[in-house]
Symmetry: C2
Subunit: 427 residues, 2 copies
């Protein structure tokens, strides 16, 4: 089954002003949508983070991969490596500064698996060893934020039965704001666990908000907190001790595997990471040091769905749990994350997703539904989603008009606080 | 794609009197052939080691797995676990005393992948990430042996252009015998590397034979030697030192990961294993200790082809090479091994196979061809092989007549040497 055509479409996704250790989300998150067509007319979709260098590489690849078998992921990865070059292997310090090559490889792999599963009339999860769970649990992802709901959308966010549309718009800069946000999110989506994006406000404010969530929702709603390594060892130790018993896990409190391992031994609460251990090359030192309990995988950042299944086996083998990291994304990525979540042999922790924050969508039928804190795996071939071409074109026009070429939360933050500078360790 | 029917056929495969640390090969090696038929009429084949307990489990499973999706390997493995029970997890001390559950899971997985690939009109390697190499290299597997070529065959072994048919029959109990065997095997199959099965004769004889092979074929033909952990630490250290520079790797010289790690540090030659590290559960201590350089995988013993790809990722991640272990097998197993060998991203060492020793076959068209020391991946869907039902039935009748129910090299050895007893460490 050979590739006949690859359409690569950069799009802009309306994104609220969410605060994080790197600064502030711009009004649009950039994504790239891949639409692969095979010689026998099958379609395969995928979506990855938008970055002009990945985009340029994929645009070059689009013509060169014509005639390539969808099964031959090694040859595709080799060709992408030639096109994107060695620079694409380099990581930056922000949590999304991952290597561009793995994004591109993931884009092709997911689209190829989608096309393959459509031909077989099975779901993508079936190509990963089968569906272990039909309902994939996600956590409610809470952000401190400024007022606003992001750039103009392709269509209006439907007002939910609860106050989520309003909460999505509302400012949340303290405990009360975050509890209100959580309540609206739980009312709308039924999340059974919560995640607090921290590392931006004073740790005292973030810890108080986390404890307030615990007070508001009780031990039946596990809470995780993620300072994105913006805390020093001493700050993380002091505040981590206050959180003991109130959180299910602490995500990237400090920077680097050695500091993670040292703090983990001191605190005795599960540690998760999507910053200290983010590639296969990081795993030997992670195992040697004991840097974390939970690896937060992301198929966009680990090279695809099969690579994520291999990572799951490594985690199971070396006594780690696997859960999932998320960046701002739309429905095609969400469908792929859900297929992977359905196929993971072991899943103890609900997956992360930004999906509720994005009102925009370009899959047919509108947004995928989160109910009871979970997504039911679509009962349709492949990823289970189809393109709405009109909306995709609108999102592409927004991309062209936005003038954005890559994510830069620091620039965006300076529009609010001119003196603000990114600092790897802030507190 | 659902399972409609599962045919489970125990067969006996003519096997020469090959010597090894566990004793002597019986005139027949037992195998089980699985033939799966899907509701839409696709066929899927597989072959695994024969053992009456695995056979009983698979015979029970045959009816119970009807209606099960071929994609759902988790559900299949769960059902097999229920049928085969916890005892099936236990390993013995012989190198083939692996867990029965993984044999059964492997049998189903390979047959399901074969059926899936046939439906997709692709090769099984394509379902594992694609074909990295069309020609899969194997090593010539040399044995000390008594005279004889094993039990009566279903059909006559074709006399080769070289003296292999005679060498296969001939006694080989010293250096001259082994060099003659190697020469005939290389003439017939073009092997570019050799493996010496050791751990049965006096180490002095085995080491001399290995050095004689080196002398005869030169450094262009890498040689590996496998005493199957029958050597004590001191014996292995002494003889290992004599082999330095003459071998590409030393396989399982001593028993257990700790002794392997200690000796490996002393000798400084690559170590391979299919005895010290034989399951995912063995990997953390292997990594912590540094027990080996090369894991000799075997999809029959690691739970299937996907599990073997996961193992390959673990090996690549933790600085190990992956190559392949073999027991006496026929063409369906050989085809599956070759599909896996074609899909492995990295392959530095030629794979092991007993295939030249088995003249018998029940795939259509007769034996798969080894030329230039490699097997060319069949250009046909699935595993690329079809059943010859007449020959399969003949092999099944031989199974019934043989009276054998499991491999027992000790009993067979006592027919030659009545006082012989298996000893885990012999020298």
């Amino acid at each position: 089954m050979k590739i006949e055509h690859l359409a690569v479409t950069p799009v802009a996704l309306g994104d609220p002003p969410l605060l994080n250790a790197a600064g502030l989300h711009a009004p649009y998150a950039l994504r790239i949508v891949i639409e692969l067509t095979t010689e026998d007319g099958r379609q395969g979709l995928s979506e990855i983070p938008g970055d002009f260098e990945v985009l340029a590489g994929l645009e070059k690849a689009a013509s060169e991969l014509r005639g390539q078998s969808v099964f031959d992921q090694h040859a595709i990865a080799t060709r992408l490596f030639e096109l994107l070059g060695h620079d694409s292997e380099v990581r930056g310090e922000r949590s999304w500064d991952q290597r561009r090559l793995v994004h591109a490889a993931s884009a092709l792999e997911v689209a190829c698996l989608d096309a393959t599963a459509r031909k077989l009339d099975c779901r993508v999860a079936d190509l990963l060893g089968g569906v272990v769970r039909e309902r994939v649990p996600y956590a409610g992802y809470l952000f401190f934020k400024y007022e606003g709901a992001g750039g103009p959308l392709g269509f209006e966010c439907e007002p939910g039965k609860s106050g989520w549309a309003a909460a999505r718009q509302a400012e949340a800069l303290d405990a009360d704001g975050l509890v209100a946000q959580a309540r609206a999110m739980i009312d709308e989506f039924g999340f059974g666990s919560l995640k607090v994006k921290a590392g931006i406000l004073e740790p005292e404010v973030e810890v108080q908000a986390t404890l307030a969530l615990r007070e508001a929702f009780g031990p039946g709603v596990p809470i995780r907190i993620d300072p994105n390594a913006a805390w020093s060892y001493e700050t993380a130790l002091r505040h981590g001790q206050r959180l003991l018993g109130a959180i299910e896990y602490l995500e990237d409190p400090v920077r680097g595997q050695s500091e993670m391992a040292r703090l983990r031994r001191s605190l005795g609460v599960p540690f998760a990471t999507n910053m200290a251990t983010t590639s296969f090359a990081d795993l030997p030192s992670s195992v040697a040091l004991g840097a974390e309990d939970i690896v937060l995988a992301d198929h966009h950042f680990w090279g695809g769905l099969r690579a994520s299944m291999e990572l799951a086996r490594i985690c199971a083998t070396f006594g780690r749990d696997l859960s999932m990291h998320s960046n701002s994304h739309a429905g095609i990525s969400f469908a792929a994350m859900t297929q992977l979540g359905a196929a993971l042999p072991h899943l103890r922790y609900a997956l992360d997703t930004h999906y509720p924050w994005q009102a925009d969508e370009w899959i047919a039928g509108g947004k995928l539904r989160i109910e009871g804190g979970a997504v039911t795996l679509p009962n349709a071939p492949g990823l289970g989603v189809e393109l709405d071409r009109e909306r995709l074109e609108a999102a592409h026009q927004r991309y062209l008009q936005s003038g954005l070429t890559r994510r830069d939360d620091e620039v965006e933050m300076r529009k609010k606080q001119p003196d603000w500078r990114f600092r790897p360790t802030r507190y």
